[in-house]
């Protein structure tokens, strides 16, 4: 394991957050602490008995308002390997139709004295709103186009593992930046750790007003590939074509898809990453997705360690009072 070799600084600052809502509000120090904690948890999954008692007696609820297989499974397995009890709830996107708000749902769960709520919601800001009102710790498992902090943390963990560092690396994120929570979390995290981030995609999928992001923007995929140490591809949703954001998927593939020809112009040791699920033949050619530069499956493996670390860290702060009520 090259990640966080003894030569690197040891983080001594304690974790003080009840919740993990996004990387926007984390300091570089806090991000390094999560990555370091994850690296010790990765070892657990390599044992024959893959379980530690760290969260015994704690209850984790996976509350998913949006369909997800890999993130939900990853959190579930992470909680189980920490010996926590875990409940999976798949809820309707908005229960307002029944006259019940998301907060009503949360208050009902809180009545069971749960410790950690892992929340995925199609609407930005829901985990933040719940965290303000709940005693339980809240972990954001993806909210609308806002943030997906554990995905970015596992991406950074994987880069660290493969490259030994993040500072000074050229990371290009290619695809639907405008609608991507993964892109946002990665931009905040990577720039804090000193990477040079390039965002690439058609203008219709690139947010306006990027001045404060600290990232380079290009519409030319060749420019994004050249000199990059990491290529992070994002999934192109079919809905984007329906909304006229791109003319069609074929046009996207021709102009922005990563295939062997384009990859040949990249650095030989470039990492190819994708948060999944892949749209094979659109943003990523199968040959590249399954090729030697791809670390897509290692991202999944590392996701488990990162989520164990996050659950462990917030659990240590669980029981602290929620933010003071403003209303």
């Amino acid at each position: 394991m090259t990640a966080l070799s003894p030569a690197q600084e040891v983080i001594t600052a304690p974790w003080v957050r009840k919740d993990l809502l996004g990387l926007w509000e984390l300091s570089a120090e806090e991000i390094r602490l999560v990555l370091q904690t994850a690296s010790s948890f990765r070892e657990v999954s390599e044992r024959s008995i893959k379980k530690v008692p760290a969260l015994r007696g704690k209850t984790v609820v996976n509350l998913f308002f949006e369909p997800s297989t890999r993130t939900r499974t990853s959190f579930e397995l992470a909680a189980k390997r920490l010996s926590a009890d875990i409940i999976n709830i798949t809820a309707q996107a908005s229960s307002l139709s029944k006259g019940e708000t998301v907060l009503d749902t949360i208050r009902n769960l809180e009545a069971f004295n749960v410790d950690i709520l892992v929340i995925r919601h199609g609407s930005a800001g829901v985990p933040a709103a719940i965290a303000r009102q709940s005693r339980a710790s809240v972990v954001n498992a993806g909210d609308g186009s806002h943030e997906h902090p554990t995905q970015a943390l596992l991406d950074m963990f994987t880069i660290m593992d493969k490259k030994g560092k993040i500072e000074g690396l050229n990371v290009s994120i290619i695809g639907d930046i405008a609608h991507s929570r993964v892109a946002r979390s990665n931009v905040w995290g990577l720039t804090k750790l000193g990477a040079h981030v390039t965002l690439c995609g058609p203008p219709t999928l690139m947010p306006q007003h990027l001045d404060s992001w600290g990232a380079r923007v290009t519409f030319d995929v060749e420019e994004a590939i050249q000199g990059a140490d990491v290529l992070m591809l994002l999934r192109i949703q079919h809905e984007r074509q329906e909304a006229s954001l791109i003319p069609n998927l074929r046009e996207y593939r021709l102009r922005y898809g990563l295939d062997a020809t384009r990859l040949a112009r990249a650095k030989p040791d470039v990492l190819v990453m994708h948060p999944g699920p892949i749209n094979r033949g659109v943003e990523l050619d199968s040959q590249v997705a399954d090729g030697p530069n791809s670390v897509i499956l290692e991202q999944v493996t590392n996701g488990l360690a990162v989520r164990m670390a996050v659950l462990y860290l917030v659990a240590g702060q669980q029981g602290k009072p929620a933010m003071p009520e403003e209303r």
Binding site: W24, S94, L96, V102, G125, G144, S145, Q208, H209
Partner: protein
């Protein structure tokens, strides 16, 4: 006949270009006289007789009662959000003696029966006067024009599909054209529905960071540009509701120079706040049109000062707490504005030295009265005695739980603001007195 004298205050009556120390004398619900305050008067109680009561207004500002061109009273249909009665209590607490009720009720105010229903409920409440804005199209569906003549005969002061725009260009042309018979405005909620699809806040740096769908300023300005061309074409009277961005300000300014018949209004919240108020997904700052950038805010203030913007209107939009507690995408748009309008304007416009007191009073009383073509907003002798008495220096914290409105949805909660309504007099009758003023009166 009993007499009421409001004595010793700084009387600001822009309609008559009055600004100075005067006594306002009210008889039989009408303004009887505005006379210079007698010098040497100590308590303001000089000349008191048995049938005369005196309000000591020294240190206060005395002005014509405010007229709100844009109020959502929610009744009929959504009495859980507001009733005409609670809305009017909020209005008089805010210094408003006339409010114009928007027609996006359930059912919509699109026929004379509903107009009469609203006016009757208002008369029962007996606080501020309610004027009605009827719908432009049946059911606010944007398909077929309502019976303009019947609605105006029933007392409507303008027509609007507010909440929704009149999107169809031809229908908008016909509405502007036909309303010329009545010399009344078509009030447009200017929003290109295609450009804002799914949007929940201003499209800018904050929406980009939060990952919330944006509503670009162009969604407002393209409709205003179109409507100004239609107003020029038809000679109809266009009133643009709640303008929110610098581009719209420029369009209206140019149109006025060219003699196009256009008026417009701005809300206190667009004068005070920007998209930063959404902060960490605060649904209380979710409003349509959205809070925009500081450059837009400053352009609105400048336009209000130079007269490009005619009036301040609250767009009072009360909602229940549980609706606003929903996820940001699902929470309804709107701010409960009647009870904070004055203090927000004093803080942002007077204290910040952007407007003078007479300018502010004009934009809140006589100018909106002209747009609604109502004989109020003035202290001319014989006019209806609608008066607001203000404490210009009083500082207080906005506490939504003390609101008379059922809607406690305000991004100003907890903010310290300057300026307070001390008393509101409608048709010669005191309909609101602040607790502070009541305590003083009993001393």
């Amino acid at each position: 006949m009993s007499k009421l004298v409001i004595a010793g205050g700084r009387v600001i009556d822009p309609a008559n270009k009055t600004d100075g120390l005067f006594d306002v004398v009210i008889e039989a619900g009408k303004i009887a006289e505005v006379r210079p305050t007698a010098s040497g008067s100590k308590s303001g109680r000089n000349g008191t007789s048995a049938d005369t009561s005196v309000i000591d207004a020294r240190g206060r500002i005395v002005a014509p009662g405010f007229i709100d061109l844009h109020t959502h009273l929610r009744e009929p249909g959504r009495e859980d959000k507001e009733t005409i009665d609670t809305g009017l209590h909020a209005a008089v607490r805010g210094g408003f003696t006339t409010v114009c009720a928007m027609p996006n009720t359930e059912p919509a105010i699109d026929e004379p029966g509903v107009v009469e229903q609203v006016r009757q409920a208002a008369r029962r409440a007996g606080l501020a006067d309610v004027q009605v804005i009827g719908a432009v199209t049946i059911g606010r569906q944007g398909k077929e024009l309502t019976s303009f003549g019947e609605l105006f005969d029933a007392g409507c002061v303008g027509l609007s599909d507010d909440g929704s725009p009149v999107s169809d260009s031809l229908l908008m042309r016909r509405a502007l054209e036909y309303a010329r018979i009545f010399n009344r405005p078509i009030i447009q909620h200017a929003e290109d529905l295609k450009l804002v699809v799914g949007g929940v806040m201003h499209e800018g740096a904050v929406s980009t960071r939060l990952g919330l769908r944006g509503m670009p300023s162009a969604a407002e300005s393209v409709i205003v540009a179109r409507d100004l061309a239609l107003a020029e074409l038809t000679g109809g009277w266009l009133h643009v509701a709640h303008i929110s961005c610098a581009q719209t300000v420029d369009l209206v300014r140019q149109a006025k120079r060219r003699g196009i018949r256009v008026t417009c209004e701005v809300t206190p919240h667009h004068l005070a706040l920007t998209d930063e108020a959404i902060g960490d997904f605060d649904t209380r700052a979710k409003v349509n049109p959205p809070l925009r950038t500081d450059a837009d805010r400053l352009a609105l203030i400048e336009a209000l000062a130079d007269g490009t913007i005619d009036a301040i209107a609250t767009d009072h939009a009360p909602h229940t707490d549980w609706e606003k507690d929903a996820e940001f995408d699902a929470a309804p748009f709107g701010i409960s504005g009647l009870e904070t309008a004055l203090a927000v304007c004093v803080t942002e416009l007077i204290e910040a030295k952007r407007l003078t007191w007479p300018q502010l009073i004009e934009r809140m009383s006589c100018s909106p009265a002209k747009i609604a073509r109502l004989p109020v907003g003035t202290f001319s002798v014989g006019s209806q005695a609608d008066v607001v008495i203000l404490d210009p220096d009083c500082r207080g914290t906005v506490q939504p739980h003390t609101f008379c409105s059922k809607g406690r949805n305000t991004p100003f909660a907890g903010r310290e603001l300057t300026g307070a309504v001390v008393a509101t007099i409608a048709q010669g009758r005191t309909v609101f007195q602040s607790s502070h003023a009541r305590a003083e009166a009993h001393r």
